[in-house]
């Protein structure tokens, strides 16, 4: 196929869109709705994943030791944990003194004399509270890491706090499942509408196609305008919602970060629009063109016997 023929057929494809205006608008609108919903859910899922990651980094496992365990044994436990680089992202030793300092700062704030009273009676009321804070590589590895640490000699207790991240994880899965279901339904409708649009175009141009075949047009030449028409519909159907999602997303994060400052403080905020669009834009365009191509090819296969 020569370049000039591609231009000629692209022109024919654009004319086809004009000729079947109503069907073209319906196809683009459905495609746009599909890609819009995809864009919104994609942004939400991406942000949830981002938040979960942030939360995960703040959720550690606390490893408590047997009473009066020698420092050398504590070091041995520490080395055994550090060795599991496949599971462990970070480990921090918190001594009994640090624990007491943290405790008293949190619970005796403004009543320092009371805290001193405790210290006078006993050197450190939390003498056996030295511990490791261990952070797994990912939240899914937490159970495995806990089992491993519990098996180490000298470990009295392992505390884990999974609630926040598991709640977010299950919410994320729910959103992903619902969005996939809605997107799938819309995808099927889009394919059907594109296919109908192209079929109408083929029917309108039946006589022209017949003449083309009789005067020696190749099969690919006859098919090309309809494929290009489909691709064009797909691109328009993907581009329009991307522009809308861009502005909606931008306004939404500004509003949410302004309204719920906790998001900024504890979760390092939400993903900026450019970070989301770096992935969302190419995925949406590919999705739009892909759907359109499938719709075009179905119509061509069924109605364009060349």
């Amino acid at each position: 196929m020569k370049i000039r023929s591609i231009f000629y057929n692209a022109g024919q494809g654009i004319k086809n869109i004009g000729r079947n205006r109503m069907f073209s608008i319906a196809s683009v609108a459905t495609m746009a709705a599909c890609i819009f919903i995809f864009g919104i859910f994609f942004s939400v899922v991406l942000n949830f994943t981002y938040i979960i990651r942030t939360v995960e980094t703040n959720v550690g496992i606390t490893v408590m030791f047997n009473e009066d365990l020698a420092q050398s044994d504590i070091d041995r436990i520490g080395s055994a944990i550090v060795d599991r680089t496949d599971l462990v992202k970070e480990i921090r030793y918190v001594s009994a003194d640090e624990t007491w300092a943290d405790f008293s700062a949190r619970y005796f704030a403004g009543h320092e004399d009371a805290a001193e009273g405790w210290e006078n009676n006993n050197d450190n009321p939390l003498a056996n509270s030295a511990h490791f804070e261990v952070y797994p590589n990912s939240i899914e590895q937490q159970d495995e890491l806990v089992n491993y640490i519990e098996g180490l000699e000298g470990v009295r207790q392992v505390n884990q706090s999974q609630q926040a991240s598991t709640t977010l994880s299950s919410m994320n899965s729910l959103i992903a499942t619902v969005s996939i279901a809605i997107i799938l339904i819309l995808l099927i409708i889009s394919v059907f509408l594109i296919s109908t649009t192209i079929t109408t175009g083929i029917n309108v141009r039946k006589e022209e196609i017949g003449i083309m075949k009789l005067i020696g047009a190749t099969n690919s030449f006859v098919r090309l305008p309809f494929i290009l028409e489909g691709i064009l519909l797909g691109l328009i159907g993907a581009a329009i919602p991307m522009v809308i999602v861009y502005f909606v997303y931008n306004s939404a994060i500004s509003y949410m970060l302004g309204k719920f400052s906790v998001l900024n403080t504890f979760m390092s905020g939400l993903l900026p629009v450019n970070a989301v669009f770096k992935v969302l834009l190419p995925v949406s365009l590919i999705l739009g063109v892909g759907i359109a191509l499938i719709g075009s090819l179905i119509a061509i296969h069924k109605h364009l016997k060349v």
Partner: protein
């Protein structure tokens, strides 16, 4: 008025394609076409040879198999039995990917003209070149030439609905000729025309033939067949019942 090479130049180009009556252009070898199993053949064991540069009428009543012959020659149909060879190509052996290229060597016009109503005369003719991917400079040169040849150089901007039936058939002829086919097939080319326009179209076909193109005209127009005094092949129920050089239209 379109500019370009004159009709005389076009004439010269076509004359260079020497009429060689020794070689055949179209050959049917025991060809049978049956549309449905058990049905009567549309074409029944037909054998014929049409030489390069010949002008041939195929005549017969409705249902005699005339249109089937045209469709077989255009490779729109495949024979049930027998072999068709046109322009040195065995049509039975053409793969689907080769059909397009084969058809570029065969021009065709129909009773109903089959012009694109949304395009003007120039674009209708240029269309035949565009679909076989000819460069723009070739299209700009050839379309005016061929429109001059059919006498429509001044009407290149007109749309089909603005033209008479005879003029529309001239546009269809120009479209069929623009790719310089070796064979021109005309299926009832005067079927929708009055006697005067029919005569003019036949004169044009004759002129095209004198320039070296093999012309096959399927018709049941007795007047033009009698007037032209060309070879006449008469079909009846799919069988050739007569084949006469410089013949006339013989009724059954």
């Amino acid at each position: 008025m379109l500019t370009g090479r004159s009709a005389q130049d076009e004439l010269q180009v076509l004359r260079e394609r020497k009429c060689n009556t020794e070689e055949y252009m179209i050959q049917f070898d025991n060809v049978t076409k049956i549309y449905e199993k058990g049905a009567q053949p549309a074409i029944d064991n037909v054998s014929l040879t049409i030489h390069d540069g010949e002008f041939v009428f195929i005549v017969g009543d409705s249902g005699s198999g005339k249109t089937t012959m045209i469709e077989l020659m255009l490779k729109e149909l495949t024979p049930t039995k027998g072999t068709i060879t046109i322009n040195d190509q065995n049509l039975n052996k053409l793969r689907s990917s080769q059909i397009a290229k084969y058809r570029r060597g065969v021009g065709v016009v129909f009773q109903d003209f089959r012009l694109l109503k949304d395009r003007n005369v120039y674009d209708n003719v240029a269309f035949a070149q565009r679909v076989i991917e000819k460069p723009g400079r070739v299209i700009k040169r050839r379309v005016p030439e061929v429109l001059t040849l059919v006498g429509l150089a001044t009407k290149y901007r007109s749309f089909p609905k603005e033209l008479s039936g005879g003029e529309q058939q001239r546009v269809a002829l120009a479209r069929a000729l623009v790719n310089r086919p070796k064979v021109l097939l005309a299926d009832e080319p005067t079927g929708n025309l009055d006697p005067k326009n029919s005569e003019e179209i036949m004169e044009l076909l004759d002129e095209i033939n004198t320039r070296g193109t093999t012309v096959v005209v399927v018709t049941h127009n007795r007047e033009i067949v009698n007037q032209m005094q060309k070879r006449v092949i008469r079909l009846r129920k799919g069988v050739i019942v007569s084949d006469v050089e410089e013949g006339g239209y013989v009724e059954d």
